[in-house]
Amino acid sequence: MPSYDQTEPGTELPARQYQVTRANLVRYAGASGDFNVIHWNERIAKSVGLPDVIAHGMLTMALAGRFLAEWAGDPGAVTEYGVRFSAPVVVPDNNEGATVEVTGTVAERLDDHRVAVDVTARSDGTKVLTRARAVVRLAPC
């Protein structure tokens, strides 16, 4: 796990790739209570102008949150976290689904053993989260 003392601006977090399948969307719908049909019904998704079923933006945000929690070693270390949803994650009806690739860079050191991290998430070559920034509390040393 990273320590505050050894974490400098520019430190890159280990990149991660997450698969998102239709089954993941159904599961997230149930767990979150967001049953918007564009996340599970291809016919209706296409009828409102989407290329296919899309993932919940909040699921993409949660995957990037998982990325931060893994780095810090504690989901409770992510004290502030904000994103802009810049493009949908399109999830085809196959075994592989979509891939979300998450990267992060330490932007600055804050007080109280906290650091600000800039996060990016891409799917199919497109940025799906922009202006994504989190404040993460690290072990002192």
Partner: protein
Amino acid sequence: MAINTDYTGRTFDPSEPYEVSRVKIAEFADAVGEPSPLCRDRAAAQAAGYPDVIAPPTFAIVVNAANAARVTHDPGLGVNYAMVVHGEQSFSHARPIRAGDVLVAQTTIESIRALGSMTTLTSVTDIRTTDGEHVCTARSTLVERGA
């Protein structure tokens, strides 16, 4: 029908209390693939300094779901929900949400802005325990696409 800008600055009544269970935290952690034992194993959470299992960083969206639906479906606000996409979301935590919390959410409409054929609605939701301890502030921007 456009979103009613008279709602700018309006604070809605607090939600019904939401009781956070270990089962719901584990279900949500499974759904987002969060593998941490701190979300499932009380002993592990206590060893890390928490009173009980903690929720993943975006769990507040679950606590706020019923409250948010009540706000966005307010007939006077005039949101065409079929045309809405989630534009931005942020959470600021005083501490992690944990099993045993009984939480109340209260939403204030911060701004309503027209941008060409789109309208953005930004709201701020204060989430605190029934004892008044502040736990999380959530800020959400919804975008209603023009018909």
